[in-house]
């Protein structure tokens, strides 16, 4: 059987999810022996920019007309499109200010020169094209990426936890930062899979993986209200990585 053709792309973002792929140091050469990487600009200067792809892996958010065109082009070439990382899945940090006047922001940062720039409000991939698989995280977890490739190679759809970070954190028997220290920990409503990285280190979860499918936000909000934490402060914190997940 011929190896599946794969393209790895970055729209606007920090390239951290592509870097996670390159960070699979001891698996990297095995990985590229199982798949046929045809288009990966961050790693190669010889790419086939037009071939059909079995799998297209796309990181970053859509922030310009150029991003929109590239994404549509990638979608046309790909049988399966994977959104890689929180920016691709949810819009990420750049989407935090979606309500703001974009022209005003551009003027603030770049002055009048900036008004000619190709600049759009940040959007997640699924707002432009159909996405077949979401792999969230800021950045993604290495194991999740390798599991996704292994599953796709075997014709399976990978399954990721629906439960929140809070569940993982409790399994480690950590002291609760919210209940005991009154911190705005987003663990109860944030998608698990990071092995509760932050609360394991006594740092409150900032919600970088986006909303959990199976969470109980109302009891979380009630617990925060009991600590006297302002609802707007909570909304602002949640919007940092995943504006869509916030119900005002």
């Amino acid at each position: 059987m011929s190896k599946p053709t794969v393209g790895i792309f970055g729209l606007t973002g920090c390239a951290g999810d592509q870097l996670v792929i390159l960070n699979c140091e001891d698996r990297l050469l095995d990985l590229v022996s199982l798949i046929d990487v045809r288009d990966f600009l961050m790693a190669s200067s010889e790419n086939d920019a037009a071939c059909a792809l079995d799998v297209a892996i796309v990181e970053g958010a859509v922030l310009s007309n150029r991003d929109v065109e590239r994404l549509r082009e990638i979608r046309k070439r790909a049988k399966t499109l994977v959104a890689l990382g929180t920016c691709a899945v949810w819009g990420g940090v750049a989407a935090m200010d979606r309500g703001a006047d974009r022209r005003e922001l551009v003027r603030e940062v770049y002055g009048e020169t900036g008004l000619a720039y190709d600049s759009l409000p940040a959007r997640a991939l699924h707002e432009i094209v159909k996405v077949d698989l979401n792999l969230t995280g800021c950045p993604i977890e290495k194991d999740h990426f390798l599991a996704a490739i292994a599953n796709l190679l075997n014709g399976n759809a990978p399954v990721y936890p629906e439960y929140p970070v809070c569940t993982e954190c409790r399994m480690f028997e950590n002291n609760c930062l919210l209940i005991e220290r009154g911190e705005v920990c987003c663990g109860p409503v944030t998608a698990a899979g990071c092995k509760a990285r932050c609360p394991e280190l006594r740092v409150a979860c900032v919600g970088c993986r986006g909303p959990a499918g199976d969470a109980n936000p109302s009891s979380w909000l009630a617990a925060l209200a009991e600590k006297g934490i302002d609802r707007h402060a909570i909304a602002a914190r949640l919007r940092t990585f995943a504006p869509e997940g916030v119900v005002q």
Partner: protein, 430 residues
């Protein structure tokens, strides 16, 4: 009119391209275009509480995420007058070194070396020279293991907070890193052997201005509060608080990265600039490495940044080992972060990210929320200097075919180790 275009730079982080216009053999115009989307992160930082800032600005860039986090914390701690412990300073420097080892190994072996050996990628290179690629991957992994242990994650560290660390790493984790570093140090000769075996690349020679932090401790380039600009034997000093006289930023129509110049001259930042400004670091193993690589300082060849990174890689391994030994000798204390008492204040921090000077400058209001922020990244500082060297390369190669010229342009761009998502400005113009 003839045009040489590198449409979309490969093997760099982010999205950028080069356009050179020639009239006959004379270069009329050079543009390094950054078309990475503008994320305009500034409005996000404004109004954020002091403990919410670093996790946002870290996302400017993945490869320099530790540098962004630590520079952000340093600016915040200056503004809010927070004193951190000596242990915190050492652990932060260790995290910085982990990032530098990872970044230099990634850049040299996976991005830059394939050019010299005529391969399109490290993956292709690995088919013929697996040892070279495996060497790079081993060192890169070592740098990442330092970042994971100290920062809690290899990209976008989570364990660094205002005043210190969420949880101080335990001694046994440092002992593991110590073992890894001893092995990494054994790879040093192989690094220099490989770099010394590469053909010389010298096609944009000329006077170059360098800017780097002056390190008060010869072993370390994490600390420091003054920048030196070295130009033709002249040395000017700029204190951190006066950084705007160094950068003189201007927006340009063709790029989302603002351009900088010092006394009307573009300048280069990064490893080569650091060694030029701090030659006293070049003793022992570093002096031997420099000699074997025939690295002359100051250099008129920006391609020498690759050699300088190799020299620094060795220095980073030695320094990381020394820090761990000191921490273990002094005994690791599971201390909590220093307390922060929010008040109005301003702080500017300048550090050396793997690819050069990084500046974060913040003003806080009385509640400890960001009133204004300014972030200037190494790739933005380098943009004007890159254009200067592209121009020189084309002038010095005008007789050649376009493909040969554009390959040279790409090699120069990669030697600068650009981080294009970093270069996109995110902060308010004042």
């Amino acid at each position: 009119m003839r045009t040489v275009v590198v449409e979309h730079l490969a093997r760099v982080e982010g999205h950028g391209g080069i356009t050179v216009e020639l009239e006959g053999d004379t270069v009329a115009n050079v543009r390094f275009g950054v078309f990475e989307g503008a994320r305009l992160l500034e409005p996000l930082v404004r109004g954020k509480r002091y403990d919410e800032v670093a996790p946002v600005v870290s996302r400017i860039c993945s490869i320099c995420s530790a540098a962004h986090s630590l520079t952000s914390l340093k600016a915040t701690e200056k503004a809010l007058e927070v004193q951190v412990s000596r242990q915190t300073e050492l652990l932060r420097e260790l995290l910085y070194l982990g990032e530098s080892i990872e970044s230099h190994a990634l850049h040299l072996f996976l991005l830059a070396v394939p050019d010299y050996l005529n391969y399109p990628s490290a993956i292709a290179l690995a088919a013929d020279k697996p040892d070279a690629v495996l060497l790079g991957l081993r060192l890169k992994q070592l740098g990442n293991s330092i970042q994971e242990t100290i920062g809690g994650r290899a990209i976008h560290p989570v364990n660094v907070v205002p005043g210190g660390f969420g949880r101080v790493p335990a001694a046994d984790r440092l002992i593991e890193l110590h073992g890894g570093l001893l092995q990494g140090i054994q790879d040093s000769d192989a690094v220099i052997d490989l770099m010394a075996s590469l053909p010389e690349a010298d096609f944009c020679h000329g006077d170059t201005v360098y800017a780097a932090l002056v390190s008060p401790n010869p072993d370390s380039y994490y600390a420091g509060d003054e920048v030196a600009v070295v130009s033709n034997g002249d040395r000017s000093i700029v204190p951190a608080a006066a950084y705007k006289s160094l950068t003189n930023e201007a927006s340009v129509p063709h790029s989302h990265a603002k351009h900088s110049s010092f006394r009307q001259k573009p300048f280069m930042v990064g490893s080569l600039a650091r060694l030029t400004v701090n030659p006293q670091r070049l003793t022992g193993r570093l002096a031997v490495a420099r000699e074997r690589l025939k690295l002359e300082l100051p250099s008129g060849n920006p391609m020498d940044n690759n050699k300088a990174q190799a020299v620094e890689l060795i220095g980073d391994l030695d320094r990381a080992l020394a820090i761990i030994e000191q921490l273990l000798r002094d005994g690791i204390e599971d201390e909590r972060p220093a307390a922060v008492h929010p008040h109005a204040g301003t702080g500017t921090a300048i550090t050396e990210a793997p690819r050069g000077l990084l500046i974060h400058s913040y003003s806080y209001d009385a509640d400890g929320r960001i009133a204004s922020a300014d972030v200037i990244t190494p790739t933005a500082l380098n943009a004007a200097s890159m254009e200067l060297h592209f121009r020189r390369a084309v002038e010095q190669s005008a007789q050649r075919e376009e493909a040969a010229i554009s390959k040279r342009l790409e090699m120069i761009a990669r030697a600068y180790d650009p981080c294009i998502s970093c270069s996109v400005h995110l902060v308010r113009r004042r």
